[in-house]
Amino acid sequence: MVTYIIRRLIGAIAMLIVISMVTFGIFYVVPQWAGATPEALASRYVGRAATPETVHLVAERLGFYDPVVVQYGRFLKGIFVGAEYDYGAGVEQCPAPCFGYSFISGQPVWPDLVDRMPVTFSLALGAALIWVVAGVSVGVISALRRGSLFDRISMGTALAGVSLPIFFTGMISLVVFSYGLGWTPPGGAWTDFTVNPAQWAYNLLLPWITLAFLFAAGYARLTRAGMLETMGEDYIRTARAKGLRENRVVVKHGLRAALTPILTLFGIDFGLLIGGAVLTETTYTLPGLGQYSILAIRNQDLPQVMGVTLVAAGFVVVASLIVDLLYAVVDPRVRLS
């Protein structure tokens, strides 16, 4: 068990390092395709009015002429121990974790990211709760009553659900429930949980349900398929033959075995969602990480893009690490291997 955890931990750290390298590589190379030179990058820090000499000097101070590897090393160092930026006019301290300063606003990236995390986290957490409960229970009932009217209707709805783009359902839901019926607040409404929990939930209700509908569909299909498979196994018959109550057979023996693939999918989905529910946040104009990333990309703000991508990837890796550890709880066979 301990070796299993240690192995997963090392794997997760290695994954993060690889991702940081690839991310840096891509966002270092791609802007150059688009015509970014060291001078062009530096001029974004000093403003357009600066003379070419000043720009050149700043580019040198900020290390834009150094090889990629050196720049990557400096980037990593900034994250772990912080960095100092020397603009010539003065030295700026950027405490760890330092993702650099925005090209546009000149503000450090990390505090911006921290500011936006609660929005995305609230969105993902609430939606995940709804979709797991709804998706898994619909899947179980469908599998137990295979071929029934409930099964056919819910599976038809689930198929429709996976075929609908979130920006379409989101817009329709806003048109109907916010602007038409006035039941829910319009897009862009956000209240922090610590300020007013009721208002927080009320504002997020529509995004939660829309997002959950999209995901619940996939979970219902997966749960149904898994349950149909496990409920046909011999040990289910054995459990019934022992005289166990049907509820116990279904939940303790059937569902538990069908849960593993659902857990895997959940780990990936949840991680990706926290990393940036780009489409949902754009549709509902929520000030979260997803919206931040799309703004950063539109502005070609390299430090912001790097920061948000790495944080997003970090969430995926951490979520799948947690899932790997949960495996050991759900599936005893993992502990032995």
């Binding site: 991702i19 690839v22 791609v30 783009p165 817009m171 990333s293 991508t309």
Partner: protein
Amino acid sequence: MTAPLDVSGSAAEARPESVLAGAGKAIQGRSLTRIAWMRLRRDKVALGGGIVVVLLILVAVFSSPIIAVLGHPPLEFHQDQIDQSTLLPKGVFGGMSGEYLLGVEPVNGRDIFSRIVAGAWVSLLIGFLATLVSVAIGTTLGVIAGYFGGWVDQLIGRLMDVFLAFPLLIFAIALAGVIPDKAFGLEGNGLRIAMLIFIIGFFSWPSIGRIVRGQTLSLREREFVDAAKSLGARHGYILFREVLPNLLAPILVYATLLIPTNILFEAALSFLGVGINPPTPTWGGMLSEAVRFYTLPHFVLFPGLAIFITVLAFNLFGDGLRDAFDPRAH
């Protein structure tokens, strides 16, 4: 579900030996493809999806003549259809009429029907070709990983893990956002379409790769591969002549299921404004323009429904195809 037997009449059920009555006829062997086709033919839902898919492909391919007969050029402005004081379409239901089948857009009065039809071409083109790219990458790496095993498998497996852990949408947006205006001898939206095909294909190969790898792992241990090896066949021969033909069915199935995902991917990128540039019509782009006019249901509804129907049809057909080739996967 098993392959249907060609036994006619209910008498066969009562007297099993009656099957032998037709024994004079030559017994036909059924290939896997034929069995799958027979199963598919009985799956009404999948067939319905397949018919819609075929219709959509026809609409996309013949988009120009269809627009010429039933609509107006997708980029043509029709200010006479717009109420100049509100900038909204004249008439009821967003200006729907015999001439403008699905109404006109607000402000400039472009024909929505023509734009939907023209958008089908872009959507399907990108959906299909991006899938082709991911199938090419996924199959190559999957077969290599599964066949050679060892450190090659480890390396490719890790690569797939890394890809799955990436916030792909953010990456794709970032890449699509910095496509230059001119490169590789292409420019404008021609270049953007080519780049989107590559980007979407490049980011969606691991799903196919995993399936191909798994299938290759089991195929590698089969007798006919041993036989080929003992006859002195080289790796290339075994891969292309022995392993690959047996992978065609799963590749076909999962490619069909990947097309709708890729169509959604393209729609999302165009919705976010980093896909195809306006004024070229795309469904995602039409939806993002419709955001400002949410009071006009027809403006939002038609591009959304176009995406929904296309993706649903491909999903239904792909599900049916999977059940037909591999009933156990149901």
